[in-house]
Symmetry: C2
Subunit: 340 residues, 2 copies
């Protein structure tokens, strides 16, 4: 089968890979309907994360079940499924607490390589959720977002306590930040400040529910948020970048007692204890437990209450994955969907 | 009047200071019944916090109102009062959100110097709470703890979401940590793990409600907590030290999705973003909004439901403040009460 391989930083290519089969009795193999490139895939693409040998990549996927292991009971061949970007048993104490990305049997799906024609999904019962039927074609992109980017934005919005009466600021106008805007709107936030310098992303943010735009970054951006919030800062701040600047921007944009939901994968971020201490902010984040939110998100999409699939501004055949990476790396595309 | 002056690191002495008067119409002046030395007072004592000229110190106090400004309406001369270690108007948006230590008119009481015979309290209406009457002598030490150390432990326990069904670990066996144990017990925690190497502090922790003791520190201490919690870590962790080691110990002792309440004043603490990210912990803390908790804490003490005053294992006349500092610095005393 065909699938993406990381050859070297900047050189991610489609190659022949072995078609996966059921290995463990808890596995499923799915025929991938759609997959995509994640902002976090750009870290290894840019060489910020070393890898030794060519290896598969990709962790966002929807598809049709081909085959299941003997112990799989909740999905069956022929069903359309959405899976979380992290495989989990969904029964251990961490999973039951809602932290499937900290499952004691956790497996990152990148290891399986979802940017491919077929995908092995470990712990299928705990990882996959079947849709009520075969989705209309136009729902596929939205369902795909639930695999990671929408779930991550949603987790960030919940971690930031977005809700009625709240002013939410969103740091980062990438796909996750935009999904954070959508989630904050769904959760009933009163005011949503999107921090974005790019006109097309601002436009999408407004479509997803943003009420205000702040175009500045860093401390000038912080001042912009303060100006909109009576000098106090936002109640809720979503951090969706993962750099030192974005984390500081998030902390400084939050009012005392406010909540920060941070989901940008932290690279070279160090937080000063004293600044954090006196900020009085609540801080919560990490890799989003997408599985926790999947049933609810599928439901919202199935009933056409949200249309997060709009975040894909480029769709390409899987064979053109190299161009997909280039387009995202150069910020020509917000998020690229790949069709195997 | 007599009051403590910081002369130089290691040289805090009692000297003649001007008796305070009402300056602003929102001030009160109180005759101090009892004051004490805080763990945070040891930072300047040890030279970890520079000061230029001799200056007053002390922020924990109970006493009797002597005089009030024209605009003070909630306390009157003759009343016994407990005050928060940070003066606040208790009406601004931050105060109403429960963050009086982030009041837009905040004044740190150290500036006024509570280790003295008389004390000027700015924003008296927002800072002081009168007791139902003149307290019995044996209640005075407990009421004094509500001014800071008990309120701080309580805030940490609430920030850590201590409560029914929860296992709480407490990092730090100083007065704040011990108050955190007491608070966690009051909030209904199922299991309370006190981390302490000192026998007298262990004993007090058990008296205040600890169910388990872990004597190791650092990663060995973390392993001890994990061993008691099925390998997962505590649901709730109270951090009451403020060093790099104690913060890491707190983060690593917390299970995914768990809550850390940190109230040790952070000195030279830097947190690695990636470790925090993958910890999945909730982090909240800062200078405790003591004023938020004062009415409830006074009530618990007045009705003799709690006896936090036991944390004072040494009582001295104000004139012997130098010895009080030495005793705490050398860890001969957990906390020293001073009688002006």
């Amino acid at each position: 089968m065909r699938g993406v391989l990381m050859h070297a930083p900047g050189d991610f290519r489609v190659a022949e890979r072995e078609r996966p089969t059921v290995v463990e009795p808890t596995d499923a193999v799915i025929k991938v309907t759609a997959t995509c490139v994640c902002g976090s895939d750009l870290w290894p693409y840019r060489g910020a994360q070393p890898f030794d040998a060519p290896s598969p990549i990709g962790h966002e996927y929807v598809g049709v079940v081909e085959e299941v292991g003997d112990q799989v009971t909740t999905v069956r061949p022929g069903q359309f499924v959405v899976g979380a970007f992290c495989a989990s048993d969904n029964t251990c104490e961490n999973c039951r607490a809602g932290y499937q990305t900290a499952c004691v049997h956790r497996r990152w799906m990148d290891e399986m390589g979802a940017q491919a024609q077929y995908l092995r999904v470990p712990l299928a019962d705990g990882t996959l959720v079947a849709t009520p039927g075969t989705p209309d074609e136009d729902l596929v992109p939205s369902l795909l977002t639930a695999s990671d980017v929408l779930a991550t934005g949603w987790f960030a919005a919940e971690a930031a306590h977005a809700g009625p009466g709240k002013t939410v600021a969103v740091v980062g106008d990438g796909a996750v930040g935009l999904m954070g805007v959508l989630a904050a709107r769904q959760l009933g936030a009163e005011r949503i400040i999107a921090m974005s310098r790019h006109e097309n992303r601002q436009k999408l943010a407004l479509e997803f529910g943003a009420t205000d735009i702040v175009t500045e970054r860093g401390d000038t951006g912080v001042a912009g948020v303060k100006e909109l919030t009576g000098g106090l800062g936002a109640h809720s701040v979503i951090e969706a970048v993962g750099t030192q600047e974005s984390m500081l921007q998030a902390i400084r944009s939050t009012r005392p007692g406010g909540h920060i939901g941070y989901v940008g994968v932290s690279h070279d971020v160090t937080l000063d204890g004293q600044e954090l201490f006196f900020s009085h902010a609540h801080l919560h984040g990490g890799p989003a437990p997408a599985r926790r939110f999947l049933p609810h998100l599928i439901d919202l999409i199935w009933n056409r209450q949200i249309n997060p699939g709009k975040v894909f501004d480029l769709q390409l055949p899987l064979e053109e994955a190299a161009e997909a990476y280039r387009a995202m790396d150069e910020r020509r595309a917000i998020k690229v969907l790949l069709r195997p």
